[in-house]
Symmetry: C2
Subunit: 374 residues, 2 copies
């Protein structure tokens, strides 16, 4: 068995749970935020810096690594951990979300998805079997089944068809997965915003007995309240002794609300992407560093933060770096944003331990005004 | 007195010297290579990383900082050291080279230079007095007088006129310099590729008794052999008890040849600029990382290097990062190239100490084939 989920404690105020996920590359404390390293690097960061900020697991993208540098090259390099110099756990997605996002550049059949590379237009075909071959070659601790992610909005018939195909593909992935000893394959619950379809998807996947379950098809454009509603009825459908991973969610409010609803794992490019665009998540809300009001602001980016960026640099300097298009701008802002979300989840875990997650949420948002648009 | 040069040893094989430069922010061992932090950041690097690779002093550019974020803002921030979080020595140039490089966008008179900003086209005027005001506000340990750098090639009358103006401006800089206690003002020897003009310039500036002397107007397009020839007759004109700084030179061969001719300090954007373009300086010559031959090369960038990049990553990974346009590519390649030049100068100092600099040069170039085009 590649992973084992240990349930430490259930929150008395909410559906949140404190756990430990044992993996071949170490133990992950949950709930957790996972930084995204799409192309075998968390953008602008070194592995050592991620460890300094106590990142416990990172995510990498199968679609991107398959196209460049290629999964066979990564395998030759000794696997993704060795290739990118990261010895802690890694999770790879299945590429499903990326290929479906290609729109006109892809064609879905029961067999799989034909698509054109976003890099050079070359033609490719991903099937459940091919995706398992790729993820096995990459060698992440946790891997995702190839799923079909329905768009939002989508009519019920479309979503039903798509979730049922996801179940059939999950069966094929399970059969094709070659390295069950070292890599845990998660099934992905789909079903859009329809309660009965989420129930159907969860029931079908749980019957297949995966070592963990992802919740897909959320954070695809729907209002956040709707996402929370879907979580409200979806997480209770999943077994308590398995980890639950909400894919592609990374705004501070959604992390807290997701944890409250029993989610254990989150990932998102948001903190690093907005960092490169000069936007910080701080304890007092969003800071857009290019704004003129920071020109002579010689205080830290976040007055309540002890990250490397906040301990050593001022908003005035960060604004200068951003305006001057310096790489150090992306580095420092990414450092802060990742630290912020990792630290937020640490606080969430402490709040669960002390049965005060709802109180923590209220305290957090009392300061964090105006951030919900992130 | 802001600085003091301590001559430790003269090489028995060459004109090289081993020294220590005492500054308000610490001691610099010479000969030394100074990484360039044009816009108050050495591109892609943090101060801690520069310290890890034993950078002892960095250079920053007056022209750039004057335009953005402005010297007054830097002064308000507590000076350049504090603004950029670097507590070791800093040297600022005078902006002379930059404004003269603007070509049609600048107009030179005896009073100073009128020019248009490369950022927004706004009009500005730099004079010796204004440059001193800016450099005093920035607060570097070593500052440069405002000089006129003649182009190459240039006829003798033009170069003579330009060096004589440089001397007159040096006098004005000396008079305008307000912080002699903490900032050492260097005069800049000009005179192009004419021996008698270099002699005139050196004689005039040495008479003004500066705490150090720069050699300007080299590495401006002339053949390297010509540069070495100019150094051959210029450094002996400078006092032995003062540091000598060869401006804008940073290729490995020119560092060694410059040290052999008695130069103590060097700076250049070369190592960081070519790093961002995917080119490394290594002990076995130039490595252009995007080349297909490195696709499956799982060896370090430089087999004889112990920098962070070479200890932890392969050429295959570095090539992937470069092709994928990842920031970590610029970071790792810059780390290696800066470490390479800093370490090269450490080896040069050891060779001087052991009276074997010529032997070291020959050993170095036996491996470093094909790099002289850098």
């Amino acid at each position: 068995m590649a992973i084992r989920y240990e349930l430490i404690k259930e929150c008395k105020q909410t559906g949140a749970r404190l756990g430990r996920l044992h993996t071949p590359h170490g133990i992950i404390e949950t709930p957790i935020f996972m930084p995204v390293g799409t192309q075998a690097t968390v953008k602008a960061m070194t592995p050592e810096e991620l460890k300094d900020m106590q990142a416990q697991i990172i995510l990498s993208n199968t679609y991107h690594l398959y196209l460049r540098p290629g999964h066979e090259l990564v395998k030759e390099a000794g696997g993704l951990h060795k290739f990118m110099n990261w010895d802690r756990p890694i999770l790879t997605d299945s590429g499903g979300f990326q290929v479906f996002s290609l729109g006109d550049l892809r064609k879905i059949t029961e067999e799989g998805v034909e698509f054109q590379s976003h890099i050079d237009g070359s033609k490719h075909f991903l099937s459940p079997e091919k995706v398992m071959e790729i993820e096995n070659a990459l060698g992440a601790d946790i891997i995702m089944a190839f799923d079909e992610c329905a768009p939002y909005p989508a009519d019920k018939a479309y979503v039903k068809n798509s979730l049922e195909r996801t179940t059939r593909w999950a069966v094929r992935c399970k059969e094709a997965h070659k390295n069950t000893e070292n890599q845990a394959l998660f099934g992905i619950v789909q079903g859009g915003m329809y309660q009965d379809l989420r129930e159907q998807s969860a029931r079908e996947l749980v019957a297949l007995d995966f070592p963990g379950y992802s919740i897909g098809g959320l954070s695809v454009g729907e209002p956040k309240e709707l996402m929370y509603e879907v979580l409200d009825y979806t997480t209770p459908l999943l077994p308590k002794d398995k980890p639950r991973y909400l894919m592609g969610v990374g705004s501070p409010d959604a992390l807290i609300e997701g944890a409250i609803r029993g989610v254990d794992m989150f990932d998102c490019v948001l903190p690093t992407r907005i960092a490169r665009n000069g936007t910080a998540m701080t304890s007092i809300g969003k800071v857009v560093i290019k704004n003129a009001k920071y020109t002579r602001d010689f205080t830290p980016l976040d007055p309540n933060c002890d990250c490397y960026c906040c301990k050593n640099y001022t908003r005035a300097y960060l604004r200068h770096l951003y305006k001057a298009d310096e790489i150090l701008s992306s580095r420092l802002m990414s450092t802060h944003n990742l630290h912020f979300l990792i630290n937020l989840m640490k606080q969430v875990r402490e709040a669960i331990m002390n049965d005060r997650l709802l109180d923590f949420r209220n305290e957090f948002f009392a300061n964090y005004y105006g951030e919900t648009q992130l």
